[in-house]
Symmetry: C2
Subunit: 404 residues, 2 copies
Amino acid sequence: MSERVVILSTGEELLTGETVDTNSAWLASSLWDLGVQVRSMLTAGDDLPGLVRAVGSACDQGSVVICTGGLGPTEDDRTAEAVAAWAGVESSESSEALSQIERRYRTLGREVSTANRKQAMLPGGATVLENRWGTAPGFSVQHQGSTIFCLPGVPVEMRNMFQAHIAAALSTRESPTLVRMRTFGVAESRLQAMMDGVDLDGADLGFRAHIPEVQVKLRFPTGTTEADRHAVVRRVSDVLGEALYSVDGGDLAESVIEALSQEGETLSLAESCTAGMTSSWLAEVPGASAVLMEGVVAYSNESKVRSVGVDAEIISDNGAVSKPVAMALAEGIRTKANTTWGIGITGIAGPGGGSEAKPVGTVHLAVSGPSGTRHQTAVIPGDRNQVRIRAAGAALALLLRCRG
Amino acid sequence: MSERVVILSTGEELLTGETVDTNSAWLASSLWDLGVQVRSMLTAGDDLPGLVRAVGSACDQGSVVICTGGLGPTEDDRTAEAVAAWAGVESSESSEALSQIERRYRTLGREVSTANRKQAMLPGGATVLENRWGTAPGFSVQHQGSTIFCLPGVPVEMRNMFQAHIAAALSTRESPTLVRMRTFGVAESRLQAMMDGVDLDGADLGFRAHIPEVQVKLRFPTGTTEADRHAVVRRVSDVLGEALYSVDGGDLAESVIEALSQEGETLSLAESCTAGMTSSWLAEVPGASAVLMEGVVAYSNESKVRSVGVDAEIISDNGAVSKPVAMALAEGIRTKANTTWGIGITGIAGPGGGSEAKPVGTVHLAVSGPSGTRHQTAVIPGDRNQVRIRAAGAALALLLRCRG
């Protein structure tokens, strides 16, 4: 696959910083998974001369340009006009695009306005790309050896249209097979070092950091047999060790909900420094209600005693951030909520509250289950929010290890 | 201020989608606040020819180019080399940069390695930009009417160095005054329509969507008197109405913690569909422990009854997602935790669980306080996570209005 791919994002809201461009990273990652490395990315605003220049510059660099944004009904939406100017053609109303718009509006029970009709004005010779997720049709134009695909900027529409119209076109010749290994608790730079010298049998190696986890991606060339893939995955698994928690599976919260619901197991949590973050992650997974029974945000010492049943003496003897308190939180909430598993988390998220013995970032975690309670401690670097995110992740990873 | 500013982001991890580029949006937003509109943005990888081409293209378009990334110690870090090639100069070891690196390592108690010494190799004629937040010095180079500022890609270093070295330089001539008005509960497109025709007395209007809130930003030209600014802010406040919750203040969670801690008031929460998200947001604010006493993630009906004291009959008579249950959650947790305020949240986040009478997105919120309990209901559009985020935001906004 030797296409030179360039991504062009358009929209004044990107140049004012109003919106973070997540589309480009999503596209780049999806392209990498298909075996395509993006050459460069450009971002342009809404002014027509700048936009025409950007389209030209992108098409100079790329044999395939994926452009997002600027297909809406308002006068700021000028992508079609810019592409027509670049290709040196006139725009005209595409009957195919118009009938797609009319069909879409009919299902929504709305009238097609003059502004919406404008969305059917496409450069001459354009191929219409159907949008079944929104009102703006996409299109592609070929000119001087380059193909530019224009998609809406709304992420859900852009993603679905990329999969429907572009991924298929790009992956016809050689489709690599992708294996996604999810890890927790080891920094990306350390993972990269660990992978040094591992025999990947020709597979490409990629990383994707998505706090608090890091994905290790293996891209196998076409024709790799399943047995060969398995052998590589096994070698990589051995190297990653306990850091690896899922192969081609969900994230930490999804893995926990899936594993527990399969066995009819239930979970309760008593969180101090994470203050509901762990519960909230679990509740984000559809079907969580079969597993997640109860959580207590035991932020004050009183609430640890009153609502989770932690012995007040354990707190006064050891301090609220300690192994005995983490264990008492896990055991207390498990007993109270009568669940298979109980999680307890206590820590010093900062910026205040640290001491020499217990610096900011000190976290104690415990998981209580059918065969006892397991404890883990760590000093987590980073700011208040990073400490809390990594502590929540560590608690879920510990639960998965307790079951594993 | 007539500088043409271009942002250039570098790093292979951006082109593989491994990392989302948040630096560019942060820079663009900070520049807008200073009265500078970014012309365009470019992203390049680590290969030297591509990088040199990107530097040239950025400097063709911009009189000021802000480049991030590629200043590290590894061989993939080639920004200095690329800038030297573009400017047609040799690189050499900068004694000023080297002594900054040595000073930094001394305070960290570490040795300067050969790789680290490489970070002092700068294009001839470069001005060194001190980095007090990390090890890689930045630099700027002037060539053919353009100035390129090179900063590290690590966000905390980049942000601090931008403020220290670039913002000051750009804002010497005309510094606008910025007023940031935070709103909740009204979509950005609707806010834009509401602002149509409001007399802004020459101020520029900007929006920044940061789910679940939208900021309305007013940028006043130099020389606007405080009285004139106040008059505009008052007119805009009138138009925004209840959607406005803070002028030049913090976000929803910060506003709640600030308002309550000032009066010595305390808060407890009983959350069902949001499942700890609201508590977790509050706990993210330093000093939250003076306000946030306890939260219960009352996900199951049993836990609503057992841990918050909701009457089981209220649930069986009205369903778990109902006004009486939201009110009983708020009142129950307030009584149990003995706090000034209690928040109750119950809703159907989806994708399952909806009915004709109670569609997915139905949320009931209640805030209980010294003078009674206030209830609010809404049907929130979006996916599971959007419903939960907006519900948590709505609960905090309701609390602020109850105190208002």
